[in-house]
């Protein structure tokens, strides 16, 4: 699509304390469905959205982490995680339920710099 813009969704919040994670994913799936060039960045507590074994059935919330693998069906492959954020939480990429590209904060700055549209959640 010649007039498509590059979008970056920046996810910085943990999954259940607020609606940000769910809404970011909704926006991401819509942007992908409309054929936009979409990348996702997870940093700070946002990396917790990607943790394996989430099960919010006992707190009556939807398990948005189950929707994450759908991103691949929508051809969203540019999923980035900031290394420093993982490190601060003693997490490895093995702890995450989808495959991601782990990048340092310098590469994160460049990623943000390259985008037409930035959406922060």
């Amino acid at each position: 699509m010649s007039n498509s813009k590059s979008f970056l969704i920046v996810n910085r919040k943990a999954p259940f304390g607020s609606a940000f994670a769910k809404e970011a994913l909704d926006v991401g799936l819509i942007a992908a469905a409309f054929g936009q060039k979409l990348s996702l960045l997870f940093m700070d507590d946002g990396v917790y959205q990607l943790l394996k074994n989430q099960d919010p059935s006992d707190i009556n919330q939807k398990n948005t982490s189950q929707t994450l693998p759908m991103l691949e069906m929508y051809d969203v492959k540019d999923i980035y995680v900031e290394a420093e954020s993982l490190q601060a939480r003693n997490l490895q990429s093995d702890d995450l339920l989808i495959s991601v590209q782990v990048i340092d904060s310098q590469a994160t700055a460049e990623l943000i710099d390259q985008q037409d549209i930035l959406l922060n959640f």
Partner: protein
């Protein structure tokens, strides 16, 4: 004796720092909602060995389970379910909520 409840992530909010600064040794700390991330091994390690030696620290099981943390809980932090939460509020004179 006071039960301190904290519901914010220790890496994005200073509620837990404030709680730990003023909590007296006979007080218990109950981590709920996003504060249960403090029950895992994070770099800032607010729930330290020292904190665990001074206070009984609990974390709410449904919130741990929701966030995929049941297997990641630190030794020394005791998981409690909703009934345990109610029992704790009965056991202490009052509840201080850090949110």
């Amino acid at each position: 004796m006071i039960l301190h409840t904290v519901n914010k992530s220790p890496l994005q909010n200073n509620s837990l720092d404030s709680c730990l600064r003023v909590a007296q040794p006979d007080c218990a700390i109950l981590l709920i909602e996003d504060a249960v991330y403090a029950a895992t091994d994070t770099a800032n390690g607010l729930i330290s060995e020292q904190v665990l030696s001074l206070h009984k620290v609990y974390a709410l099981t449904p919130d741990l389970k929701a966030r995929g943390l049941l297997e990641r809980i630190k030794p020394g932090v005791e998981p409690v379910d909703y009934d345990g939460f109610v029992a704790l509020t009965e056991q202490f004179d009052s509840v201080q909520s850090w949110y």
